[in-house]
Symmetry: C2
Amino acid sequence: MPGKIAILGGSGPEGSGLAYRWAKAGLEIIIGSRDAARAQEAAAQLRAKVGAAPKVDGADNAAAVAQAEIVVLTIPFAGAAALLKQLKSAWKPGQIVIDTTVPLAATIGGAATRVLGVWQGSAAEQTRELVPKEIPVVAALQNLGAELLAGEAPVDCDVLVCSDDEKAKQAAMELVHKIPGARALNGGKLENSRIVESITALLVGLNIRYKVHSAGIRFTGLPLTS
Amino acid sequence: MPGKIAILGGSGPEGSGLAYRWAKAGLEIIIGSRDAARAQEAAAQLRAKVGAAPKVDGADNAAAVAQAEIVVLTIPFAGAAALLKQLKSAWKPGQIVIDTTVPLAATIGGAATRVLGVWQGSAAEQTRELVPKEIPVVAALQNLGAELLAGEAPVDCDVLVCSDDEKAKQAAMELVHKIPGARALNGGKLENSRIVESITALLVGLNIRYKVHSAGIRFTGLPLTS
């Protein structure tokens, strides 16, 4: 069982969707937000939605990181670099970061069907540059839509998990498998997040053209590893 | 029923796989190659493999284009620009081009799990620049592996079809549906080929990591359109 999971930006749609699925699976969650009060409010809503006795709390982002074993980034790409710079001294050895962010052009007023060119190659590689090198960074979960996560049905999606740290990758794959229906796939090195992130823009386009809300991706021709 | 289909680079693995599936579906195929004799040899092999009375012929690339209604590019990316420059005067109104090429870094001695940055954005957008503007360009079929196409089983894959010309896109989608198991999806504008082409590199990586040969892609959460 993984330790506490801080979800930075966890009051937003993607973060609260992940928090919901993981809290339902019995994991311990800390919703992180710029504003501690907002995080606590989101945590209270989540506790009510999950029922039973979910271990869900809220804190400002830095306090959330201080308590967590796994830190999941679900903030909009536009705010990611600034937040990570603020958090520079918050990290502790043994933590891992899972980056779910996508540099959609919507971030700068463009289309959510296009991605920006990020100097480092991808949002996750930018994160890699802004987090101490002792803390492994994993890119994952970009392609799971917020509406799917907020729902009750198993998701019908594969999740490509990319990292240069095999142990961290394994931990992230275990977390993915806590989401009913999700199959974690070894996506290779962190640099492959360039491709995986762009798939989110493609899914947004499919949602628009096919008038749906939850287009997802599956890979075929692989041995089952779910 | 579409008219004659010229498959440039049709003696290679991807091209001959497509030719095989389409010839089996009763379509009229011209294998194009730099060398007419090689094209005719590939056509003869294909006729023997398909059996019945397949309409498969071979010609040098320019002669193949001259006869065709639909021209499919399956040449390696490294040779695409030079070939299209040679073919500049070969085009006739009413033809459409379907570009299946991917700018894998393998083209310049790098890894087949990475894509090159193409100035125009993608291989298909480079093709768009090198073909007369009256001839519509469609990007499609990049993610169907050659081994899958050479086999007999229905492919378990979706094919994203991207173009700025809706009529040409429709024609390409119909061709995709001639391949058993393939579902054509509206991939939006030609520029989306940037993402779709890069998915091929991701599939190559999955093939390597999972020790398979035919990883493919399906999209979930969409209305069935096969």
